[in-house]
Point group: C2
Chain length 265, copies 2
Amino acid sequence: MNKITSIQNELIKEVLALHSKKGREEHGKYMIEGMKLFEEAISSGEIIESVFVSETFPQKNLLEENSSAELKKYIKNLNIYEVSAKIMKNISDTETPQGLAAVIKKKDYDISNIINSDRLLILDRIQDPGNLGTIIRAADAFGISGIVALKGTVDAYNMKVVRSTMGSLFHLPVVYTDEADVLFKKLVDSSFDILVTHLDGKEYINQTKLGDKCAIVIGNEANGVCEDIIKFATKLVKIPMKGKAESLNAAMAATVVMYQMMIRG
Amino acid sequence: MNKITSIQNELIKEVLALHSKKGREEHGKYMIEGMKLFEEAISSGEIIESVFVSETFPQKNLLEENSSAELKKYIKNLNIYEVSAKIMKNISDTETPQGLAAVIKKKDYDISNIINSDRLLILDRIQDPGNLGTIIRAADAFGISGIVALKGTVDAYNMKVVRSTMGSLFHLPVVYTDEADVLFKKLVDSSFDILVTHLDGKEYINQTKLGDKCAIVIGNEANGVCEDIIKFATKLVKIPMKGKAESLNAAMAATVVMYQMMIRG
């Protein structure tokens, strides 16, 4: 295993650049942390550019300790670097680094990757990284085939988002687009039902009829779905509620709607 | 309006003490921040011990600016204090204080307050404040009549929890108990169905038959429901999932189960 001892090393500089959205876009890569996400990345077929393990990482000798022959072979071909605990602390986005970080190649998805799906989720300016991560995880669990993030949505490759997806980011395409008009026109042309969740919704999500192809739009945490997008809705829907709470947070609302879409088929 | 100019003022010392669980327990009070939560506390009939407004708070003259005669009368009887921006920053739990903080009397709920309900939520060691707040908000939205928090669950009066409940904390009783055995014995005696969510669940939550009285148990974020509690389950249930995600986070799982219980009646 190669050792990196200086924070000035070019590879380390690159990893640090991936902490920002600008850096991730320039390099076309992002960073993950921890053994669990790393294994999930491997099993999902992600392209792993490089791996950094702390000299104090208990599972440092990945090659030896991993039992699966397939994984061993795979890991043998990876660029693995040992770094000092200090460098790992610099690389890491968390207070207590997990001792392993890896650089993954970003996938370049566009609308053509998701337009033939039957269950889409469209996000209008979801800003909280934890919410986005949760939503991606729920989308994966409830059979959504693709996500489109409109302008103003936080970057899905943000390290906090990646962490809270628990690997679901590897399982379905997340497409970023600034051209909402183009997207919705394509959805209409492809016979998508476009459901917008709205407090003034006319139908309850558990009673509305779902088309063969459905896109559900979830809006910004504070302001909901913007008017320019509501105009594309084929249906305004709402979540049934029984108590005194006025609303749900964006991640919960998305979770409930996706769950409901799944159980109704 | 009385002015407080010193951080050594006894009332300010008390507010600061409410930042810790120990302080909240000693005083039997907790703190809320922001006009929205404050109004929600009033309309929910909470007992407001004192109110602190920053000298720079735009809605400082609550009495004059609020239109409802009833609210005016109510506010007239409150102990409102003007404090400097510096004191407000000290009192506040957030980076950007909202300019209003209020001290509310804690309600002392016990199991007798919830045992006659028909839909209960039981939390086994939910540790993340954001998760607990989200769960309380969803419980309110989906018609849960009471929550029991078992030993190891974060304090619902923690300021981050209070914030993320968005006022739902005022709407339903949250009972803390260390005596899980006593609780479950009472639930069994009161003919409750006790549903435990579990990855090895035998029935899907959307297919299981729900009794007239139902308690659903949600477990710790990392470890799920502990074995000592699983033994009380009348049913192990699971959430249907379609994708590659292994699980949902605790708040999402709770949200989906409560939603499902509500729509099935």
